[in-house]
Amino acid sequence: MPTVTFVSIDGSRHTANARVRESVMAAAVRNGVPGIIGECGGNASCATCHVYVGEDFMPLVGPPGDLEDDMLDLAVSDRRPTSRLSCQISVTEALDGLVVETPKEQP
C-alpha cells in the first residue's frame, strides 16, 4: 500500500496508508490527517484540500487541470507553483512515499 506523508506548518508529520486510485485527499480524510478538510468530497469545488507537493514529486504529480487551476487562482489563500488540490491527485504505486505540505489555512 503506498504511503503519503503530510507535513503541517508546525513541522509535524502524519503518514497515511493510501489505496491505489483513491485521491490523496481521501487518504488524508479517512485517516483523520489534520489540515485537510475535503469538504466537497473530492469534487474540486471547495479548495479545502489544498497542498504543496514536494518538489521531488512535482514531475510525477504534474500540473493542475483547467478547473482546478481556477480553484487555485481564486479560492486558496497562498498559491505557489507547487500548489495542487489533493482531491485531484490520484494515488498510484509510483507515488509511494509522496510528501506534501499542508497550508497555514484552508478556506
Binding site: 479517512r30 466537497c40 468530497g41 469534487n43 469545488s45 478547473l67 480553484m71 481564486l74
Partner: protein, 414 residues
C-alpha cells in the same frame, strides 16, 4: 451533567461532522453516534454520480476509517435506529435493538427520507428511489439490464440518474409535473438550458406531465401511464420527487417542526439544549437571516454540524457559511452558491448554447446567488463576493468583456 455524554442520532455526514467537531472543541465526555444503516458512515452525493456510474464503490465512499472513530473515542453504533426518545426526567433513547442510551445532551442529525410515489403500481419491482446506499445498490442492479428508463421528477436526483442512464445508452424519459426542470432551485433560463442539454444527448424530457399509474406484469414494471393517456414503456422507474425530513424524534421531544426541525442560526431547536443539523432542519437563510429555508446539501450538513458542535461545547458561533451546492450531469458541472429565493433579476454571462455560462441572481440590485455551468471561476467569484459582502453590480456583471474577478478587486467591501 450525569456523565452520560452527548448522543448524536443519525450517523450521517452531519452526525459524523458534529461528533468530530465536538472533539475539536475539546469536549472530553462520551460521544455516542447511532445510525440505522449497517454501513459505516459514508458520503451520499456520489450515489447518484460516481457510484451509480460505476466509478466509485461503497468502500471508497466511507467518510472515515473505523480506526478513526476509536481514536476520537466516538462510540459508533451502526444498524440501530432510535425509535423513542425523551429528555425528562432524564435523557434516554431506546433503539429498535432494545438498547437504552442515556444522554446529557442530544443532537439530531437524522436526515430525510425519499418521498414515495402513491400512484397505483408503485409497489412493483423495478420502481426505485435514490436516497441511501441500499437504494443506490438496488437501482444499479436494475439499471444494468434496463432498456427503457422512466425518471419521475426533474430535480437534481432525477436528472443525475437520467444522465447516468443515458450515458450508458438506455432510452431515458424524464417525466416532470411542473412546467420546467429544477423549479425550486434555478431560474427558467437554467431550467431551459438543462432541458435542451438532456434532449441533445438523446434523453426525452416531458414537462407538465402527470404520472397516473405504473403498469406491470408478474409483479414487474412494464410501463407508465400519464394523465394525457400516453403510455411509456419502462423496465425501470426511478422516482426523485423530493424528500420528507425525519421529524418523528423531534416531535417526541416536543420540538417545533415546520417542514423540518426548526433551528436558529446556532443550530438550536425550540428547546435550546437540543441541537439539530443537516437535511432534517429548516434554518434562517444564512445570508439574510430571514425566513426558514431547507438546504438539502452536504455543505450545509457540514457547516451546520460545526455550528451545532460549537453550541454544545458552549462556544456558540452563528452560521456564517455561504450555502453552496453542485450537480454533475453528463459533462456539465453545475455549481451553485448563495440562495436565490426571492430574486427579481437574473444576469446571464457566457453562452448557454456553448454549454458554459452562469446566471447571477439579484434582488433589488443586491447579489443573492449564482448558478454556473462549466464556469467554475464565476461560481468562485460570486461565492467570495457573498462571503465578503462585496457587491457585483448587475450592469457590470452583464458585460461579457469584464471578467467577474475584476469586479471583486475593483469594488472592495465597504
Amino acid at each position: 451533567m450525569t456523565g452520560a455524554g452527548v448522543l448524536v442520532v443519525g450517523a450521517s455526514q452531519a452526525g459524523v461532522q458534529l461528533a468530530v467537531s465536538l472533539r475539536e472543541h475539546g469536549h472530553d465526555g462520551p460521544i455516542t453516534l447511532v445510525g440505522a444503516e449497517s454501513q459505516p458512515p459514508y458520503q451520499r452525493p456520489p450515489l447518484s454520480k460516481a457510484y451509480l456510474g460505476g466509478a466509485a464503490d461503497a468502500t471508497s465512499l466511507e467518510l472515515r476509517d473505523q480506526a478513526f472513530y476509536a481514536s476520537k473515542r466516538i462510540d459508533l453504533l451502526p444498524a440501530e435506529r432510535v425509535t423513542h426518545i425523551r429528555r425528562f426526567p432524564s435523557g434516554t433513547a431506546l433503539t429498535d435493538q432494545g438498547r437504552v442510551l442515556d444522554f446529557d445532551r442530544v443532537a439530531l442529525t437524522v436526515g430525510a427520507r425519499a418521498r414515495r410515489l402513491t400512484v397505483p403500481g408503485s409497489d412493483l419491482t423495478g420502481v426505485c428511489y435514490l436516497r441511501d446506499l441500499a437504494d443506490a445498490a438496488l437501482l444499479r442492479h436494475h439499471l444494468t439490464p434496463a432498456r427503457h428508463v422512466v425518471v419521475v421528477g426533474g430535480g437534481f436526483i432525477g436528472l443525475e440518474v437520467a444522465a447516468v442512464a443515458r450515458s450508458e445508452g438506455r432510452d431515458v424519459t424524464v417525466v416532470e409535473a411542473a412546467p420546467r426542470l429544477m423549479t425550486r432551485a434555478v431560474a427558467p433560463v437554467v431550467s431551459e438550458f438543462y432541458r435542451r442539454a438532456h434532449a441533445r444527448r438523446g434523453a426525452e424530457v416531458l414537462l407538465g406531465a402527470q404520472l397516473t399509474r405504473i403498469e406491470g406484469e408478474h409483479g414487474r414494471v412494464t410501463g407508465v401511464r400519464l394523465a394525457d393517456g400516453a403510455r411509456l414503456p419502462a423496465d425501470l422507474v426511478v422516482a426523485g420527487v423530493g424528500v420528507v425530513p425525519r421529524t418523528e424524534l423531534a416531535e417526541q421531544l416536543g420540538l417545533l417542526c415546520d417542514g423540518g426541525i426548526v433551528v436558529d442560526e446556532f443550530a438550536r431547536t425550540s428547546d435550546p439544549s437540543v441541537v439539530a443539523a443537516g437535511d432534517c432542519t429548516v434554518l434562517p437563510n444564512p445570508l439574510t437571516g430571514e425566513g426558514r429555508v431547507r438546504l438539502e446539501s452536504m455543505p450545509n450538513a457540514i457547516a451546520q454540524a460545526r455550528v451545532a458542535a460549537a453550541t454544545l461545547a458552549g462556544k456558540p458561533q452563528p452560521y456564517a457559511d455561504v450555502p453552496w451546492f453542485w450537480s454533475d450531469q453528463y459533462d456539465l458541472k453545475l455549481q451553485i452558491a448563495g440562495v436565490a429565493d426571492g430574486y427579481d433579476q437574473v444576469v446571464v454571462r457566457g453562452d448557454p448554447d456553448g454549454e458554459a455560462f452562469s446566471a447571477l441572481y439579484y434582488r433589488g440590485g443586491a447579489l443573492l446567488a449564482v448558478n454556473a455551468v462549466n464556469r467554475t471561476a464565476d461560481y468562485l467569484v460570486v461565492r467570495k463576493a457573498l462571503a465578503k459582502g462585496t457587491p457585483l453590480p448587475a450592469d457590470l456583471a452583464a458585460r461579457a468583456d469584464v471578467p467577474l474577478k475584476d469586479l471583486l478587486v475593483a469594488t472592495p467591501a465597504p
